[in-house]
């Protein structure tokens, strides 16, 4: 019975690793400038964790195989090196692994969070709410009109609570339900939520950031490939959470300009 267990454990370990090695299930291909850092970090961690995983399981399996159901006469032996050896081993192995991962991790993290957006980054505002994202472009004047929460009304599609009669800045603001951005142009995303906690997750862009009620959060990224990608919510926000999504269209500068014109006429 012990030997069967040993085999089972080792088999399970190897089988579990197969889909990872074969890349059977992978995240959408990365289309961002910073994404490769995260992917490399992921790959590196996958290797180290994978080795730890297989080593642990196989060692466990081997010892179970060797020492289960031994003859009653057998004498108890101690693992060479004893506990101290193992403890020191653990500190060395995991310690170095931790340091390595930690240091590299900081690099990727700071790339995303500690660098300010470039001066020419395009400001786009995103508002999360049950259960949709809406986006606002400042229009020709480059200014976002002020938001009046008491004016927000989805029935009349005044989604941002703009007062276009009194705020000149809001007159030319463009509100859209899908997000379009020019390719290879840094985007400075200004995030706020109108009701609850939500999250802005674009797997293809390797970005995820929560909307925090009462806080204005911001995020900046650059898309490197044109195409249509999905923005989804990852923060449980109510019954429609699963269907809280929007499309992100990455276009050439020209297409983007015409798209923006088109949207302007729909206001």
């Amino acid at each position: 019975m012990g030997k069967i267990l040993a085999v089972t454990i080792i088999l399970i370990a190897i089988l579990s690793a197969v889909p990872i090695v074969m890349h059977t299930w992978v995240a959408p291909a990365d289309v961002s400038v910073h994404g490769h850092l995260i992917d490399e970090q992921m790959a590196e961690t996958m290797v180290e964790a994978g080795i730890a995983f297989l080593a642990g399981q196989i060692l466990l399996g081997l010892f179970i195989w060797k020492f289960s159901d031994v003859k009653p006469g057998a004498r108890i032996k101690n693992f060479p090196g004893g506990a101290m050896g193992l403890v020191i081993g653990a500190f060395l192995l995991v310690g170095t692994e931790v340091l390595a991962l930690g240091v590299f991790g900081v690099k990727a993290w700071s790339e995303v969070y500690f660098q300010p957006p470039a001066a020419n980054a395009m400001p786009i505002q995103v508002q999360a709410g049950q259960f949709a994202f809406y986006f606002r472009y400042p229009g020709p004047d480059g200014k976002f009109g002020p938001i009046h929460p008491e004016l927000i009304n989805e029935g009349t599609q005044n989604l941002f609570g703009l007062d276009q009669d009194h705020d000149p800045a809001s007159k030319d603001d463009i509100v859209t339900a899908e997000m379009a951005i020019p390719v290879n142009h840094e985007i400075h995303l200004l995030m706020h939520t109108k009701d609850l906690g939500h999250s802005f997750y674009v797997p293809a862009l390797r970005v995820q950031q929560d909307f925090v009620p009462g806080l204005d959060v911001s995020l900046h990224f650059t898309a490197t490939k044109t195409g249509k990608y999905e923005i989804v919510c990852t923060q449980l926000c109510g019954l429609g959470h699963y269907n809280m999504k929007a499309y992100l269209e990455v276009m050439s500068e020209a297409d983007f300009a015409s798209w923006l014109k088109q949207q302007a006429t729909n206001q």
Binding site: F131, F133, G155, Q157, E178
Partner: protein, 247 residues
């Protein structure tokens, strides 16, 4: 002694029958009563109704080759104003107000829009909520707090059966929304007695109006309410028309 009982019994029977006749009589007459009809016009140019971007839920967008537009102001070619609810706000005898149409009001969710966008209904009239879309909707009416009506918020997965409900008291008007599709928005106007909802030509009809003088009220989600007196004589239908001014 005995005969006394007998006569008492007969008397009682007579009274019951008479009452019965009376009450049914009201119905019979009411049914025969005239109606109030008319048209509702919008003066000036209707505001621009922006198209709705349904890209969030492709199953919705697919159903609209040309994007659907908002329905806050819907006018016909002849300048008729649709989605106006006309009802009797004063002067209706309790007996007539008590009549509840047996025909249920159907509130359909089709193409991720509410059909109708504005529904009039009688207090206690059966309201049937239908989901004809290949997607899940949640129906979320928001009556006034403490107004006698209690709000609810129910999801209707695709293919799940219609459900029936009704409103307990008058309310003009209860906004209805779908949170999963934030653009879905409509109104339920709950009144006592006859009511009519104008179509795109602006015409409306109130049936079963007993003779008398009443105050008619016309309600529109954007342009508010207008009232006017109308007198209904036995036999011939009265007419009333309203004109709203575009802001």
């Amino acid at each position: 002694m005995k005969s006394l009982y007998k006569s008492a019994a007969i008397l009682a029977v007579l009274v019951v029958v008479a009452l019965g006749l009376l009450s049914t009589g009201v119905h019979v007459n009411a049914a025969a009563e005239g109606k109030v009809s008319g048209t509702i016009k919008l003066e000036g140019t209707a505001p621009h109704m922006r198209p709705i971007d349904m890209s969030k839920d492709p199953t919705c967008a697919k159903q609209h080759p040309t994007p659907a537009r908002l329905e806050n102001v819907v006018t016909g070619p002849s300048g008729g104003l649709a989605n106006v609810v006309v009802y009797i706000s004063q002067g209706l005898p309790a007996s007539a107000a008590a009549i509840v149409p047996s025909k249920p009001i159907v509130w359909d969710q089709k193409g991720c829009m509410y059909q109708p966008h504005v529904a009039g209904m009688d207090v206690g009239q059966q309201l049937q909520v239908v989901n004809s879309d290949p997607t899940t909707h949640n129906i979320h009416p928001l009556p006034q707090m403490g107004g006698g009506n209690i709000g609810w918020n129910k999801s209707q997965p695709q293919g799940s059966p219609p459900f029936n409900t009704s409103w307990k008291s008058e309310e003009v008007a209860i906004p209805v929304k779908c949170n999963i599709h934030p653009w879905m928005h409509g109104y339920m106007v709950v009144v006592k007695g006859p009511y009519g909802v104008s179509d795109t030509s602006g015409s409306f009809t109130l049936d079963n109006v007993p003779p008398g003088t009443y105050t008619l009220t016309a309600w529109h989600e954007t342009y508010g309410t207008q009232t006017q007196k109308v007198t209904v004589a036995a036999g011939k239908p009265a007419t009333a028309s309203f004109t709203f001014k575009a802001k």
